[in-house]
């Protein structure tokens, strides 16, 4: 059911180079311990986990190739972001924004790029840039609305 994106060479390369790939089979009649541990309620479910096993992002349902690639890059960015490794996070968020502008993760990447840059530099103008970019490029997105509080920050 979810073999589609894995047949793409870019997806294969990114997963092999950037992640340890792990597959866990699900059984609904008798849920596995991992299904119980991570509250798996539908498939496919994708988890982005650090090497302590903590989950930094969870996606449910089939994802087309370009969105999938964007999520792979964004997911790695979120692992870094939540570990306060802001420069490495920002690099992945920029990859999503520049390489996958039509992907569903792109507006979220702009939002978190602003936050990562702010946390790294303590310059609030990074948050304002995120708001400006979101309202210009993705005005209908939830992330543009969530960035609205940053509109009061001077440019």
């Amino acid at each position: 059911m979810n073999a589609g994106p894995y047949s793409d060479e870019k997806v294969q390369k990114f997963i092999e180079e950037e992640y340890v790939p792990l597959k866990s089979q699900c059984f609904w009649k008798e849920r596995t311990e991992l299904m119980k541990q991570f509250d798996i309620a539908w498939t496919p479910t994708f988890l982005f986990q650090d090497f302590g096993g903590r989950v930094h992002r969870k996606l449910v349902g089939y994802i087309p190739v370009d969105d999938f690639l964007a999520q792979l890059k964004f997911g790695k960015g979120m692992v870094f972001f939540e570990k306060e490794r802001h420069e490495e996070a920002a690099k992945r968020f920029r990859m999503v924004i520049e390489e996958h502008p039509n992907a569903g993760a792109a507006p979220e990447a702009i939002f978190f790029l602003g936050v990562a840059e702010y946390k790294k530099t303590h310059e609030a103008s990074a948050l304002r840039r995120a708001y400006d970019t979101l309202t210009e490029k993705y005005p209908q997105s939830e992330w543009a609305r969530r960035a609205q509080p940053y509109s009061a920050i001077p440019k």
Binding site: M1, N2, Y6, E9, Q12, K13, I15, E16, E17, E18, Y19, V20, P21, L22, K23, S24, Q25, C26, F27, W28, L34, M35, F38, I40, T43, P44, T45, F46, L47, F48, Q49, D50, F51, G52, G53, H56, L72, G75, K76, V79
Partner: protein, 32 residues
């Protein structure tokens, strides 16, 4: 072609992630 070499064991994957300094991409799938 960079064929994906999937781990099938969670603990092995976590140990490999620690060793290689990479996160884990974990796909829960159903053969149905």
């Amino acid at each position: 072609m960079a064929e994906i070499k999937w781990e099938r064991d969670f603990e092995m994957a976590i140990a490999k992630a620690k060793k290689e300094g990479k996160p884990v991409f974990h796909d829960f799938w159903f053969d149905g």
